[in-house]
């Protein structure tokens, strides 16, 4: 299950990052923005626009696959890893300056991801956790988690 999350979230981050960087490139290519058909045509002629589209579609399908098993609270939090990759890449590719608060924020996001990964039980543990819960008749568990434990 950890492998599924690792690949899934890496893919999600890749698609999200592609979309954001493509939007920036497409926007810059069609600069300056104006409310006219010419601007729309200029925008549609940008190859980057289709990179953004690809990123959005890829992210959607990846997200729907992840959500089949992942609990929504932690998964939604983990999907913010994209903030870190976009921040790093915009500093590198566009020479944008990062403030120290932003760097500290990026570090906190990475630390948070590590905590979520630590909190995700190994398959064996997950099984015993489920057994313990059944034994005490604990409240219903997230269907996705139970599913994940049973699948392996």
């Amino acid at each position: 299950m950890k492998r599924f999350y690792l690949i899934g979230f890496a893919l999600l981050m890749g698609f999200d990052t592609l979309a954001q960087l493509s939007f920036k490139h497409a926007g810059a290519g069609a600069f300056p923005p104006e409310a006219s058909v010419e601007w729309l045509l200029r925008l549609l002629a940008q190859p980057w626009l289709y990179g953004a589209l690809l990123g959005y579609i890829g992210a959607f399908f990846t997200w729907m696959s992840l959500l089949k098993h992942a609990p929504i609270g932690p998964a939604f939090a983990a999907s913010h890893l994209e903030v870190v990759s976009v921040l790093a890449l915009s500093a590198w590719l566009f020479g944008e300056r990062l403030s120290s608060l932003q760097i500290a924020g990026a570090a906190a996001i990475v630390a948070g991801i590590v905590c979520l990964a630590m909190g995700e039980p190994d398959d064996a543990e997950s099984g015993s956790e489920r057994a313990a819960q059944l034994a005490v008749g604990a409240e219903r568990k997230d269907a996705g988690e139970a599913d994940g434990g049973a699948a392996h």
């Binding site: 729907m64 903030v83 932003q102 924020g105 570090a107 630590m118 997230d142």
Partner: protein, 119 residues
């Protein structure tokens, strides 16, 4: 922030939270099966469509919101959605808030807020 900015902000939080929960309801349906059949099942139920509709509306509210406030505020908003969706997941789907998960979500929420505030 004036009344218009506040209402647009509230709308984006509600639509993002509602949309994500609808997507989870669609994707987590144990009856959905696998592969192509899973997509057919999801497309025949309201949840995926509700999630999609929330996203279209949020897209519009988001553009209107960003036309009035700087982008940093927008990123800051992402941190509030993390808390809203965490609580909704606990309430609607019975997701456990273990210490590791709380620490992880708290750190990510704080980190996103810092990135937004530092912009």
């Amino acid at each position: 922030m004036n009344a218009l900015v506040w209402s647009l902000w509230t709308a984006t939080v509600l639509l993002d939270t509602g949309g994500q929960l609808a997507f989870k309801a669609a994707a987590g349906d144990p009856e959905a099966g696998d592969g192509l059949a899973r997509w057919k099942h999801m497309l025949s139920r309201p949840w995926l469509w509700i999630g999609g509709a929330c996203y279209v509306l949020e897209f519009l509210a988001w553009i209107a919101f960003l036309s009035l406030v700087p982008l940093g505020r927008g990123v800051l908003l992402g941190s509030i959605n993390i808390v809203a969706i965490m609580l909704a997941g606990r309430w609607l789907f019975g997701e456990k808030l273990t210490p590791w998960r709380l620490a992880g979500m708290g750190l990510i929420g704080a980190g996103v807020a810092m990135v937004g505030a530092g912009a």
